[in-house]
């Protein structure tokens, strides 16, 4: 360990650069197995530098991660394929870090980051979507265990996952926000049944998960009994942070494919489509600039409320642009690439054909918070308008209308 870290000082960019070079020297990219390299990187505190020492980090500012990533990329080092393990990295890990016991942190974070163990999220239910706190999956204490019964839905990666973050009702007599507890669920438990949920695109990105007498040791509880809603806020807040933080080039999103088609296919052009395309192109470019401005605010340490609106704009534009693209294609717009039921590991909203993009983008205004709920959030938290009248806050969960 270098002098700076042993003294407990926060490492700076130069320190991180030299530690990264030390890692590369000790584990040459050419001769090291991918997973072994990732484990060594985790142990060197270079996985997520803002995490604590011993848990893959060095207690450094989060913004300095870019320094490490750039060094490793330049050296051609393997990464942990973050898109494949997005739920673990973006949602499970910050929650375990924030609320987990020391045993939980040291057991779960390393294989999570390395990608040896995939995570999924068991939150939404058929009867609890926008009103997540109304969830009805029950967890009943039985000795050192909890016994869980219920149904979860819209679970991506459930068929690949080793672990799940789960919220379940432990006290039906309490008002709905207060009777929930947060658990880590073993997806190999015999009571866990995963069924693909086929969607309008023909494929199944998501699953339904049926939980029948699933046993979870109390040692796998995250946070206090009854405090699960508060714990879940950490998870959901991190979900929103991970949306909209990226820098994209002009025409980098959904407007890219339709602009390309427009340029390559003069035979398809009409005046009406031209006007609509230009209008959407302008809106897409302004959304991109808005995201870039938000990013600059974050870098400057002045986060604004602008992020709340990014997903709204993203969803609406994806839908309108892909809809225009199908129309532009005319006779070809009557076709669809392939309806075969598949289970894609990665999802690219701007991938496949125009018909797929059109259909998949319908989910953008539903997943991760519906546009209607997000408009309420902007109106109440940003503009300070009065909240919706509530009749459900102080009533025992078991007495709510269902």
């Amino acid at each position: 360990m270098s002098a700076a870290a042993s003294k407990g000082a926060t490492p700076d960019a130069a320190e991180l650069r030299s530690r990264t070079q030390e890692l590369l020297a000790a584990h040459p990219v050419a001769g090291t197995d991918r997973v072994d390299f990732l484990k060594a990187r985790f142990d060197a505190g270079l996985a997520w530098v803002h995490y604590p020492v011993g848990l893959g980090g060095l207690g450094a500012p989060r913004s300095l991660q870019a320094v490490v990533d750039a060094e490793l990329e330049a050296a051609g080092a393997p990464d942990n394929d973050p898109r494949r393990i997005g739920i673990g990295l973006g949602m499970a890990a910050p929650t375990i870090l924030g609320f987990g016991t020391e045993e939980q942190k040291s057991r779960f974070l390393r294989p999570l980051w390395v990608g040896e163990e995939v995570w999924c999220q068991l939150f939404s239910e058929p009867g609890a979507g926008s009103d997540l706190a109304a969830l009805g999956t029950r967890a009943v204490r039985d000795g050192d265990d909890w016994v869980v019964n219920g149904q979860k839905v819209w679970t991506s990666s459930a068929h690949l996952a080793r672990w799940a973050i789960l919220i379940a009702r432990t006290d039906p007599d309490a008002p709905k926000h207060r009777g929930i507890t947060y658990f880590i669920c073993d997806m190999t438990d015999p009571g866990v049944e995963v069924r693909p949920l086929r969607q309008i695109t023909g494929e199944a990105e998501f699953n339904e998960v049926f939980l029948t007498d699933v046993r979870i040791p109390d040692a796998h509880r995250l946070g206090e009994v009854g405090d699960g809603w508060r714990v879940a806020q950490t998870t959901l807040m991190n979900e929103r942070v991970s949306i909209g933080g990226m820098r994209i080039p002009r025409e980098g999103g959904m407007i890219g494919p339709v602009s390309k088609t427009w340029r390559e296919r003069p035979d398809l052009r009409t005046h009406d489509l031209h006007q609509r395309l230009l209008t959407l192109w302008v809106e897409a470019e302004v959304a991109r600039l808005t995201g870039e401005r938000l990013r600059q605010q974050l870098v400057a340490g002045q986060p604004g409320p602008e992020g709340s609106g990014m997903k709204l704009a993203f969803a609406r534009l994806n839908q309108e642009i892909s809809g225009l693209e199908v129309e532009l294609l005319g006779e070809e717009g009557l076709l669809y690439e392939d309806w075969t039921m598949r289970r894609p590991e990665l999802v690219d909203f701007t991938g496949r054909d125009a018909g797929y993009r059109y259909l998949r983008s319908k989910g953008n205004s539903i997943e991760g918070g519906t546009s209607e709920v997000l408009l309420n959030i902007v109106a109440e938290r940003v503009l300070g308008l009065p909240s919706e009248p509530r009749t459900d806050k102080d009533v025992a969960w078991k007495d709510l209308a269902r």
Partner: protein, 366 residues
Amino acid sequence: MSAPDLLYSEEEEALRAAVRDLLTDLCDAPGVIARTESDRPHDPELWKALSDGMGLAGLLVPEALGGQGATHREVAVVVEELGRAVAPVPYLTSAVVATEALLACGSDEAAELLTALASGRTIGALAVALSAGPGAPYKSVRHENGTLRGELTGIADAVAADVLLVPAEDGGLYAVDAGADGVTVTPQVSLDLTRPVAKVTFDGAPARLLTPDATPAVRRALRAGAGLLVSEQLGLADWCLTETVRYLKERKQFNRPVGGFQALKHRLAALWQEVVGTRAAARNAADALATGSTDADVAVAVAQAYAAPVAVHAAEEAVQLHGGIGMTWEHPAHLYLKRAKADSIAYGTAGAHREALAGLVDLQAP
């Protein structure tokens, strides 16, 4: 192309605060409404405070010519605040558009006028209709033996101008003193009484040549006008949103604040998003103009195509969501509606800017 700086610097925020303070003191809504019906639609006291007092008329003029040698980024902040107050001063027309035209001329005559405009004691107006966008055709007058003959309409702030910059049929751009023999400025009854347009008639008016090639000067002036008008539209829209939200928290019907009804909350949240987008687009355009970026044409066209409808939408929502009071002459909402609607035509409509964009980003018409 380096990444544009889309934030406001500390200095820019300080400038904003100073301008806003001044406007709070000197430019309240009842005063603006009263002035629109007087025979002096512009506010000379406010103009003096902005120019003489704060030196803002000379922001774009180099220090060597008596200006501040600042950039479009600072000007954008001033324009945004003037928009927020619908201030009746010829700032955009004189300190931006006429100044930019003169900056493109490069003649001694132009340099002399720049010094005069920078002081604010002389007000200039480019004699091109307010509706003309960058690159669009515009009317000119006849030049004969050092004098001009002809008529131009839709000239913004001409009634306040001391000097007119006039394109002639021989291709030149000429300076004409507004008070000279042979010049008649006739106010037109304008939709936006805070930036009135006028008819200007030249009947043998003495003219001084600024440049023999008016085209690039006019184009540059109108591009800066369009690009900075976005910041004015941002100021207008932000006022409309802020004031409407404030009012709807206070106004009660059906025993509830009206702002608690979801139908209205969603409309205001959607409007907030549009204002946020306008801010990013306005900063991008101002930064591109300030740095002389090769992307400036695209940045201006994108920003103007986006911001013009947003300002109109914001003002229309302000009128509607204020209910009956929003329809009265007494309430200032109509000042914003009229300015926003006139702005949607000024320096080219959104449609004209989209058309320009089609060529700039290679999305050609059928």
